[in-house]
C-alpha cells in the first residue's frame, strides 16, 4: 500500500461540513468497529489494493484523495456478502456504490474512465427506456477508446449473434424515461 508506512500527518478539521459527499459516505460506515468481516467476506478482495476495512478507516480519517486513488470500490460486484454479514448492520455495498458516484464526479481521468461503463449503460436506458444491449456495448467500446477491448469481447459477440441474441431489442419504450431522468437530474442538482 502506497505511503502507508510513512507517517500521515494531518490536522483534524471539522468533518461533516467540510465535504457533504464524503460525509454521506462517512455516515454510512461510522459505526464500524474494524472487525474485518467485510474484507473477509468479499470475493474480490484478493484484487483490491486497500482492504475494505482499511478503506472505511481511511474514509473516517478523511483521507478522501487516498481512497479515490484506490481501485477497491471499483471491484465491488454488489454481491452483498459484506452487507449481510456486517455485525453493525452497515450498508457497505451501498457505500461502495456511493464511492463510485463520488469518484465519477470528483475523481481523476482514471476514475472517470472506470465510471464510463455505468454511465453509458444509463445513457442507453435513458434513450431507450429498456436497455439495448447491442447498442450499449458498441457505445461503451467507443467511449473507452481501447482498441483491444472489442476484440476481447468479440468472440462472445459473435456467439450471441449466432444465437440471435444480439438484436436491437424492442424499441417500444424509446424515450419513455426521458421525463423521469430529467426530473431526477433537476432534483439532484437542486439538493
Amino acid at each position: 500500500m502506497k505511503n502507508m508506512h510513512t507517517p500521515i500527518a494531518f490536522t483534524p478539521a471539522p468533518l461533516v461540513f467540510q465535504d457533504e459527499a464524503l460525509a454521506e459516505i462517512q455516515s454510512m460506515v461510522r459505526a464500524c468497529m474494524q472487525c474485518g468481516t467485510c474484507t473477509a467476506s468479499c470475493p474480490n478482495s484478493f484484487a483490491m489494493d486497500l482492504a475494505p476495512r482499511q478503506m472505511w478507516r481511511m474514509l473516517l480519517f478523511g483521507l478522501k484523495q487516498e481512497v479515490l486513488e484506490s481501485r477497491t470500490f471499483w471491484l465491488c460486484s454488489s454481491c452483498y456478502s459484506c452487507t449481510l454479514r456486517c455485525p453493525r448492520g452497515l450498508p457497505l455495498t451501498a457505500a461502495m456504490a456511493a464511492l463510485k458516484r463520488l469518484a465519477a464526479a470528483e475523481g481523476d481521468a482514471v476514475n472517470r474512465k472506470k465510471a464510463l461503463f455505468y454511465q453509458e449503460f444509463m445513457q442507453n436506458v435513458e434513450q431507450n427506456g429498456r436497455i439495448q444491449e447491442m447498442g450499449f456495448m458498441c457505445h461503451y467500446f467507443l467511449a473507452m477508446h481501447d482498441p483491444l477491448l472489442p476484440l476481447e469481447y468479440g468472440p462472445l459477440g459473435l456467439k450471441l449473434l449466432a444465437k440471435g441474441k444480439l438484436h436491437l431489442g424492442d424499441s417500444t419504450q424509446r424515450g419513455r424515461l426521458g421525463p423521469l431522468f430529467a426530473k431526477v437530474r433537476s432534483m439532484e442538482e437542486a439538493s
Binding site: N44, A47, S77, C79, R101, R130, I131, E133, K183, V184
Partner: protein, 291 residues
C-alpha cells in the same frame, strides 16, 4: 395464482430463453401472469454507481404502474438484479421517512405515484413457496432421474434481504430439483458471487470467481440458475476461465420445462451457448427411461 409480471430488459434480449420458459412453465403450473404494461428498465446493477435517487425512482416507476394497472397482485421478477432493485424501494422507504416524498416527486414527472403496496417476489420464491415441489412433481412427465443438477442462486436473489432462503447456504431450489426426479449436486458454491458486471469492467477478477464456481461444479451434469447475469457469466466465459470441460448452464424454468415435456420452442434450449453433448446424451437417456 396470479402475478404482475416484470420480465426486465435482459429477458427481452440475451435471456430470451429465460422469459419464454418462465411463461410456459408457469402456465403449465396454473400460474397466471399479467405483464406490467409500459414497464421500463430498473437500472440493473449500473444505476447505483450513477445516481442514488434514480436507483429508487426507476424501479418505483414500475411499482407505481403495478399498483395502478395490476392492483392487489404481487410482482413476479425472474431477474435477480431487477428483483433486488424493486425490493429495495420498499425497504429503504421503510427506514427513511423522507424518501417516499422524494420518489413521488420524481414520479410526478410522469403523473405516477407510488404507495408501497406491491410485494416483490422472485421467480424462485414463487416456485419454491407458492407453487411448491408437490405441484411441480405433479406436472413431471419426463423424469430427470440420473441427472445431477448443481443449483446456483447467485447473489441478489438472496442478499442482502433474506426473505425466502438462507442467504449463506441457500437450499430453496433443492426440493424443486428433487421433484423433477433429478439429483441435487452437493456443493457450497450456490450463493457465491459470479463477478457480475465486473465481467465487463474487470474481467480478470470476475474470471477468478467463475473459474472457482465451474471447478466446484465438476461432476455435475448441469448448473441451473435463476439470474440472467449469472447465466451469462458462467456460460459464456468458460474457455477464458481456463475451464477444460464445458458444462451447460440452464435456467431453472428450462429444467422444469424439460421434465414437464415441453417442446423445444417452449424451452428454447438452442439459445443456450453451452449445450454440451454430455447433457444432451443424459437428457436423451432420461427421455428413453420415462418413455
Amino acid at each position: 395464482m396470479k402475478y404482475a409480471y416484470y420480465p426486465g430488459c435482459s429477458l427481452g434480449t440475451s435471456a430470451e430463453e429465460y422469459d419464454v420458459s418462465t411463461r410456459e412453465v408457469l402456465k403449465r403450473l396454473g400460474v397466471e401472469l399479467s405483464e406490467i404494461p409500459d414497464w421500463t428498465c430498473c437500472g440493473a446493477s449500473a444505476v447505483e454507481p450513477v445516481s442514488r435517487l434514480l436507483t429508487l425512482a426507476l424501479p418505483a416507476r414500475n411499482l407505481a404502474l403495478t399498483e395502478r394497472e395490476c392492483p392487489g397482485l404481487d410482482m413476479l421478477v425472474p431477474c435477480s438484479a431487477c428483483y433486488l432493485n424493486h425490493l429495495r424501494v420498499g425497504r429503504e422507504c421503510a427506514t427513511d421517512r423522507a424518501l417516499p416524498g422524494r420518489i413521488n416527486e420524481a414520479l410526478g414527472a410522469e403523473g405516477l405515484s407510488y404507495a408501497g403496496k406491491v410485494r416483490v417476489r422472485h421467480l424462485l420464491d414463487v416456485l419454491a413457496s407458492d407453487v411448491g415441489p408437490k405441484a411441480v412433481a405433479a406436472q413431471v412427465s419426463h423424469s430427470l432421474e440420473g441427472l445431477s443438477v448443481a443449483p446456483y442462486y447467485g447473489c441478489q436473489a438472496l442478499r442482502p434481504f433474506a426473505l425466502f432462503d438462507d442467504p449463506e447456504h441457500p437450499r430453496s431450489m433443492e426440493p424443486l430439483i428433487s421433484a423433477l426426479g433429478a439429483t441435487v449436486f452437493g456443493w457450497d458454491m450456490g450463493g457465491r458471487c459470479c463477478g457480475a458486471s465486473l465481467m465487463a469492467t474487470r474481467r480478470d477478477v470476475a474470471l477468478v470467481s467463475v473459474a472457482a464456481i465451474l471447478d466446484a461444479a465438476a461432476g455435475a451434469d448441469v448448473i441451473v440458475t435463476v439470474c440472467p447475469m449469472c447465466q451469462m457469466n458462467l456460460e459464456a466465459y468458460q474457455s477464458q476461465a481456463h475451464h477444460a470441460d464445458t458444462i451447460s448452464v440452464l435456467y431453472l424454468p428450462q429444467l422444469l420445462g424439460l421434465a414437464f415435456g415441453l417442446s423445444d420452442e417452449q424451452t428454447l434450449l438452442d439459445k443456450n451457448l453451452a449445450m454440451t453433448d454430455a447433457l444432451k446424451g443424459k437428457l436423451r437417456a432420461c427421455e428413453a427411461a420415462s418413455a
